[in-house]
C-alpha cells in the first residue's frame, strides 16, 4: 500500500476544522488549571478558537481543493456552511457565559464539548466519503448528547440527554446500515467513486438498484433524525425543552447544518443519477424528499399552534423550517436546478441561523434562573416592561414567518423560487399555505408581548453578553433582509460538484 507524503495530504485546507478540534483538546487541559470561579476565561478562549477557525475558513474559502486523499473537500459549499456554523458557535458561547453562571452549571467542559461538536459539523460539511460522514456525525452527536444533559441532575435535562442519546444512536445505526448497503452496491465509500458506480450499475443489470434505493432511504432516515424532519422528529420537542437553552439554540441550528450538508453532498455528489425507472429525468430520491418535506411542513406547523412553551414552540417551528430546507433538497433532484436549489438551502440555513438564534437568545433573556419563565404567558406585557427586547423579538418572529425586509423572507424566497423552477408546484403551494399557518403562532408571541397586559414581575434585564448575542443576530436578520445581495454573492459560486483526487 502506497501511503501519501505529508504534502499530498493538503493539510492547509483542513486547518479550520482541524484547528478547532485540536484547540478543543488543548482547552480541555488548560481548563484544568483555571479556578472554578473564573470559568468565563475558558469561554473566551473557546471563542478565540472559533474566531481563529473563522478567519482560517475565510482564507481557504476562495481556494477550493481536496485533502486527505479525497476524503475531505474544502469547497465553497463547505466554506459557506462553515461560516454559518462558526457564527452559531460564537453566538452560542456569548449566550452561554452568563446563563451557565446564573443557573449554576458553569463548567469548562461545556465549551470544550461545544467546540468538538462544532468541529464535527465542519467535518460533516467537508466530508467526501461515507466513512468520514459517519465519523463526523458521531463527533457532532456525542458532545451534543452530553450538552443536552448538562443541567443534570435536573430531571428534564437528564431526560433530554438520554432521549437524544438513544434516538441518536438509532439514527447513527440507520445511517451506517445505509452506507453499508451503498458500499455493497457500488464497492466504494467514496462519494466521487460511488457516482460512477451508480451509473454503471444502472446501465447494466439492475440487480443492485434495490440495494441503492434501500441504502439511500436509510441514509435519508439517519440524517433525517439529525435534522428533525417528520417522521423522525419525535425527540425534538422534549430534547429542546429539557436541554439548557443555549444548547437548544446551538442544536437547532448546528445539527441541522451538519445534517443537511451531508444529505446534500451525498445526494447530489454520489446519487444524482439514481433514478427509479430507466429514462427518468429526475433523481429517484426526489419523491421521497418531497413527501418528507410536505409531511414536515404540515405537521411541524400545525402542532406548533397548540404549544404554550416558547422552547417547545421553537422546537416545532424548527421542525417546520427543516421542512423548508428539505423543499430545496427535493428541488435539487431536478437536473439543472440542483445548483440553484443548493444555494437556496444554504441561504435559508443562514437566514434561519440568525433568526432562530436570536429568538432563543430573547427567550433565554427572560428565562428565570430555575429554568421556568419560558411559557408564552411570560411574554405578556413585555412590550411595556422591556420595549426594545420585545421589538427585537417581534422582528425575529416576523422573520420566522417570512415577512419581507427580514432574513426569513429572503430564505423563503430563494427556496420557493428553486421549488417552482424544479416544477414542484404542489410542494410550493403546501409551503406557502403552511407559512400562513405558521404566521398564526408566531404572531401570537407578538400579541402576547404588545397587545396583552402582563401580570407578575416584569422580566429581568438581559445580561450584557446575551444582549450582544441579541444585537448580533438582530443585525444579521435585518441586514440579510434588506441587503440580501451580501449573502447571495457569497453563495454565488457554491455548487456541488464531484471533487476528484486530481487537484
Amino acid at each position: 500500500m502506497q501511503l501519501p507524503s505529508l504534502s499530498e495530504l493538503n493539510l492547509g485546507l483542513t486547518v479550520p476544522a482541524l484547528s478547532l478540534a485540536l484547540w478543543a483538546c488543548i482547552l480541555l487541559v488548560i481548563d484544568l488549571f483555571i479556578p472554578r470561579d473564573r470559568k468565563s476565561v475558558t469561554a473566551w478562549l473557546a471563542a478565540g478558537g472559533v474566531v481563529f477557525a473563522f478567519i482560517a475558513n475565510l482564507l481557504v474559502y476562495r481556494d477550493p481543493g481536496v485533502a486527505f486523499m479525497g476524503l475531505f473537500v474544502a469547497d465553497e459549499f463547505a466554506g459557506f456552511l462553515n461560516i454559518v456554523v462558526l457564527l452559531t458557535a460564537f453566538i452560542a458561547i456569548l449566550m452561554s457565559v452568563d446563563y451557565l453562571k446564573r443557573t449554576g452549571i458553569e463548567r469548562g467542559e461545556y465549551y470544550v464539548l461545544l467546540l468538538m461538536t462544532t468541529s464535527g459539523i465542519m467535518f460533516m460539511n467537508s466530508a467526501n466519503d461515507l466513512a468520514v460522514v459517519f465519523i463526523a456525525l458521531e463527533l457532532l452527536s456525542i458532545p451534543l448528547y452530553v450538552l443536552a444533559a448538562f443541567r443534570a441532575p435536573e430531571e428534564r435535562s437528564e431526560e433530554a440527554g438520554l432521549k437524544y442519546f438513544i434516538l441518536g444512536a438509532f439514527a447513527s445505526a440507520f445511517f451506517v446500515f445505509g452506507a453499508a448497503l451503498i458500499y455493497g452496491a457500488t464497492g466504494s465509500s467514496s462519494l466521487p467513486v460511488i457516482v460512477d458506480a451508480v451509473g454503471r450499475a444502472l446501465a447494466g443489470e439492475g440487480s443492485s438498484l434495490l440495494l441503492l434505493l434501500m441504502g439511500s432511504g436509510l441514509i435519508l432516515a439517519g440524517l433525517g433524525f439529525k435534522v428533525a424532519v417528520v417522521p423522525f422528529h419525535m425527540w425534538t420537542p422534549d430534547v429542546y425543552e429539557g436541554a439548557p437553552t443555549p444548547v437548544t439554540a446551538f442544536m437547532s441550528v448546528g445539527a441541522k447544518v451538519g445534517g443537511f450538508a451531508a444529505l446534500l453532498r451525498i445526494l447530489l455528489v454520489a446519487l444524482p443519477a439514481l433514478t427509479v425507472a430507466e429514462g427518468d429525468a429526475v433523481a429517484g430520491w426526489q419523491t421521497a424528499t418531497w413527501v418528507v418535506a410536505a409531511l414536515t411542513l404540515i405537521l411541524g406547523n400545525i402542532v406548533a399552534i397548540s404549544q404554550t412553551n416558547i422552547k417547545r414552540l421553537l422546537a416545532y417551528s424548527s421542525i417546520a423550517h427543516a421542512g423548508y430546507v428539505l423543499m430545496a433538497v427535493a428541488a435539487a433532484g431536478t437536473p439543472g436546478v440542483s445548483d440553484q436549489a443548493t444555494r437556496a438551502a444554504l441561504i435559508y440555513l443562514m437566514a434561519y441561523m440568525f433568526t432562530n438564534l436570536g429568538a432563543f437568545a430573547v427567550a433565554m433573556a427572560i428565562e428565570k434562573d430555575d429554568g421556568s419563565g419560558t411559557s408564552l404567558d411570560d411574554f405578556k406585557g413585555l412590550g411595556r416592561s422591556r420595549p426594545l427586547l420585545a421589538a427585537i423579538m417581534a422582528v425575529f418572529m416576523l422573520s420566522l414567518t417570512g415577512i419581507p425586509l427580514t432574513a426569513g423572507f429572503v430564505g423563503k424566497w430563494v427556496v420557493f423560487q428553486a421549488t417552482i423552477e424544479a416544477g414542484l408546484y404542489t410542494l410550493a403551494v403546501i409551503g406557502v399555505l403552511t407559512s400562513v399557518i405558521s404566521a398564526f403562532y408566531y404572531v401570537r408571541v407578538i400579541v402576547n408581548m404588545f397587545l396583552e397586559d402582563g401580570e407578575g414581575d416584569p422580566a429581568a434585564a438581559a445580561t450584557p453578553y446575551v444582549q450582544w448575542a441579541i444585537y448580533l443576530t438582530f443585525a444579521g436578520t435585518l441586514v440579510l433582509g434588506i441587503i440580501p445581495s451580501l449573502v447571495t454573492n457569497l453563495s454565488g459560486p457554491v455548487a456541488l460538484a464531484v471533487a476528484s483526487l486530481v487537484p
Partner: protein, 522 residues
C-alpha cells in the same frame, strides 16, 4: 426608461422613513409634542413633494416617468425600480394626502390616555406611509410584494395596540386573512418572474406585447387563469370583494380613528390598484374571461354592502360596510375593461379615499365626545355644533354621490363605462345604479339619526366644540371633495394616456373579444 439619477419618486418614498429615523431618537416623555409635530411635518412635506410629482409629470406620455432603477439582487433579476404613470400618480397623492389628515386626527385622541406609547404610534404611521407609497410606485414584482407585506405589520400593530375592546381578535384576523391571500400571489410572482427572466413589470409587459412571453390560456383554470387567480385573490381580499370581506368590518370597527381612515383611504385601494396594475396587463386573456364573474361579485358586493350598512346601528360598522359597497363599484368599473370604466374606477378609488376617510374622521370625532359608536346615543348634533353638522353633511352627500361633489364624477364615469362595455353591459349598470340609490338611503338614515332631531340629550347639548387640530383635518377633505367634484378634467387628463395604452394592450391581446373602447366623455 433607465435612469440612474435620484428621482423625485425616491425622495417621496423615503421621506417618511427619514421622519421615522428622526423620531426614533426622540424621547417619548419629554418630547411628546415634538414627536407629533415631526410626524405631521414630514407627512405634509411628503404631500407637497408628491404634488411636485404631478407638476413634473407629462400626461401625454403613457409610460413610466421619473424612473429610478438600482440593482438589488442581480443574480435573481430583482431591482429597486420605481416610477409613476397615470395609473399610480393619483394614488400616490391620495396616500400622501390622507396621512396628514390621519395624523391630525390622532392629535387629541383618547387612545393615548388609555394605552400610551405615543411615540410608537407615530413611528408606525411613518412606516405605514412609506410602505403604502412603495406599493404604488414600485415596478418590480418582488419589491412590490415586499412593500405589500410590509404594510401589514404597522397596521396590525395600530389595530392591535390602540384599537377598541376586540382589538386583538380583529388584528390577528386582519393579519392572517390578508397574509393568506398574498402568499399565493408570491407563488404566482415567482412563476411569472422565472418564465420572464426578470421581475421588472414594464419589461414583462413588453415581452407579452411582442409575443416573446405568453402564458398559455385555454379556459378559466388554465395556467394563465390560475396565475390570474393567484394575483386576484390577494387583491380581492384587500379590496375586499364579496365574499372575502369578512375581515373588514372587524378591522374597521376595532381600529383607532386614524387606522380606519388609512384603512379605508389607502389600504383598500392597494387591492383595486393591484388589479389594474398587474392582473389586466399580465393576464389579458384571463382578465377578459374572468371579467363577468368578478364583476358579478362586485355587483353583489355593491348591493350586499349597502343592504348590510342600512341594518347597522353602529356608526363605524355602517361606514365599514359602505366601503364594501363603494369598492364594488370600482371593481365593476375596472372589469368593464374600457377607458371610461378604468378611469372612473381609479378616480373612484381617490374619491372613496377622501369621502370615506372623511366619514371615519367625523365618526371618530363623535366617538371622542361621547365614547360610543351607537347611533341611538346621538341626535340633534346639528343644533349643538352647527358648523360641524354642515361639514358632515357635505361629506355624507359626497359619499352618496351628489352631483357637484367628487363621488358623483367617479360613479357616473363607471356607469358610462359599464354601459358601453361589450363585456358587462346594461344589466350590470342597472344593478350598480341600484347601489347608488341604496347608498342614499343608508347615508341619509345615518345623518338623520345622528344630526337631526331634537336636542333632547343632555350630553349632546354639552358637546365639546371642535379642537383646532380637528378643524385642520377636516379642511383638506372638504377642499378635495369640491375640487374633484367641480374640476375633474385634470384628474382624468393625468390618467388618459396610460389607461388608453392599457386598454389597447388588453384589446390587442384578445382579438376574439372586441373590448368596448368608449372614449372619455369630455
Amino acid at each position: 426608461m433607465e435612469a440612474t439619477g435620484l428621482s423625485l419618486v425616491t425622495v417621496v418614498l423615503f421621506l417618511p422613513l427619514i421622519g421615522f429615523a428622526i423620531m426614533l431618537f426622540m424621547n417619548e416623555r419629554t418630547q411628546a409634542g415634538a414627536i407629533r409635530w415631526t410626524a405631521l411635518g414630514f407627512s405634509v412635506l411628503t404631500f407637497l413633494l408628491s404634488l411636485g410629482l404631478w407638476a413634473l409629470y407629462n400626461p401625454d406620455d403613457p409610460g413610466l416617468q421619473l424612473v429610478q432603477r438600482i440593482n438589488w439582487l442581480p443574480d435573481y433579476g430583482i431591482s429597486y425600480y420605481v416610477g409613476v404613470d397615470g395609473l399610480s400618480l393619483l394614488l400616490v397623492i391620495l396616500t400622501t394626502f390622507i396621512m396628514p389628515v390621519a395624523i391630525l386626527a390622532s392629535f387629541r385622541s383618547h387612545i393615548f390616555e388609555e394605552r400610551g406609547r405615543e411615540k410608537l404610534y407615530y413611528l408606525f404611521m411613518m412606516l405605514l406611509e412609506w410602505a403604502m407609497i412603495g406599493v404604488f410606485v414600485v415596478q418590480d414584482l418582488v419589491i412590490f410584494y415586499v412593500f405589500w407585506e410590509v404594510t401589514l405589520v404597522p397596521m396590525y400593530f395600530l389595530i392591535g395596540i390602540w384599537g377598541a375592546e376586540q382589538r386583538i381578535y380583529a388584528a390577528v384576523k386582519f393579519f392572517l386573512y390578508t397574509m393568506a391571500g398574498s402568499i399565493l400571489m408570491l407563488l404566482a410572482i415567482l412563476y411569472v418572474g422565472i418564465n420572464a427572466g426578470t421581475f421588472a413589470l414594464p419589461e414583462i409587459i413588453a415581452a407579452i406585447q411582442t409575443g416573446a412571453l405568453s402564458f398559455p390560456f385555454d379556459g378559466l383554470f388554465s395556467t394563465q387563469g390560475l396565475l390570474f387567480l393567484g394575483f386576484l385573490i390577494a387583491f380581492a381580499i384587500k379590496v375586499p370583494i364579496w365574499p372575502l370581506h369578512s375581515w373588514l368590518p372587524d378591522a374597521h370597527v376595532q381600529a383607532p380613528t386614524a387606522g380606519s381612515i388609512i384603512l379605508a383611504g389607502v389600504l383598500l385601494k392597494m387591492g383595486t390598484y393591484g388589479i389594474v396594475r398587474f392582473c389586466l396587463p399580465l393576464f389579458p386573456e384571463a382578465s377578459v374571461a374572468w371579467a363577468p364573474t368578478i364583476a358579478t361579485l362586485g355587483v353583489i358586493g355593491i348591493i350586499y354592502g349597502a343592504w348590510v350598512s342600512y341594518a347597522q346601528r353602529d356608526m363605524k360598522k355602517l361606514v365599514a360596510y359602505s366601503s364594501v359597497s363603494h369598492l364594488g363599484f370600482v371593481v365593476v368599473g375596472i372589469f368593464a375593461l374600457n377607458a371610461a370604466g378604468i378611469e372612473g374606477g381609479i378616480l373612484q378609488m381617490v374619491n372613496h379615499g377622501v369621502s370615506t376617510g372623511g366619514l371615519f374622521l367625523i365618526v371618530g370625532m363623535l366617538y371622542e365626545r361621547r365614547h360610543t359608536k351607537a347611533m341611538e346615543a346621538f341626535g340633534g348634533v346639528w343644533k349643538a355644533l352647527p358648523l360641524f353638522g354642515a361639514v358632515s353633511l357635505v361629506i355624507v352627500l359626497s359619499s352618496m354621490g351628489l352631483p357637484g361633489l367628487n363621488s358623483f364624477v367617479g360613479e357616473f364615469t363607471i356607469l358610462m363605462g359599464t354601459l358601453g362595455s361589450n363585456i358587462l353591459g346594461f344589466v350590470f349598470a342597472l344593478f350598480a345604479t341600484l347601489g347608488v340609490i341604496l347608498a342614499a338611503v343608508y347615508m341619509l338614515y345615518f345623518y338623520q339619526k345622528v344630526y337631526m332631531g331634537e336636542l333632547d340629550k343632555e350630553e349632546i347639548r354639552n358637546l365639546e366644540p371642535l379642537h383646532w387640530s380637528e378643524k385642520a383635518a377636516l379642511v383638506p377633505v372638504l377642499i378635495a371633495i369640491f375640487l374633484i367634484g367641480l374640476q375633474p378634467a385634470p384628474f382624468f387628463r393625468s390618467m388618459d394616456a396610460s389607461v388608453d395604452a392599457l386598454v389597447r394592450h388588453v384589446d390587442e391581446s384578445v382579438p376574439e373579444v372586441v373590448v368596448g373602447n368608449l372614449q372619455m366623455p369630455e
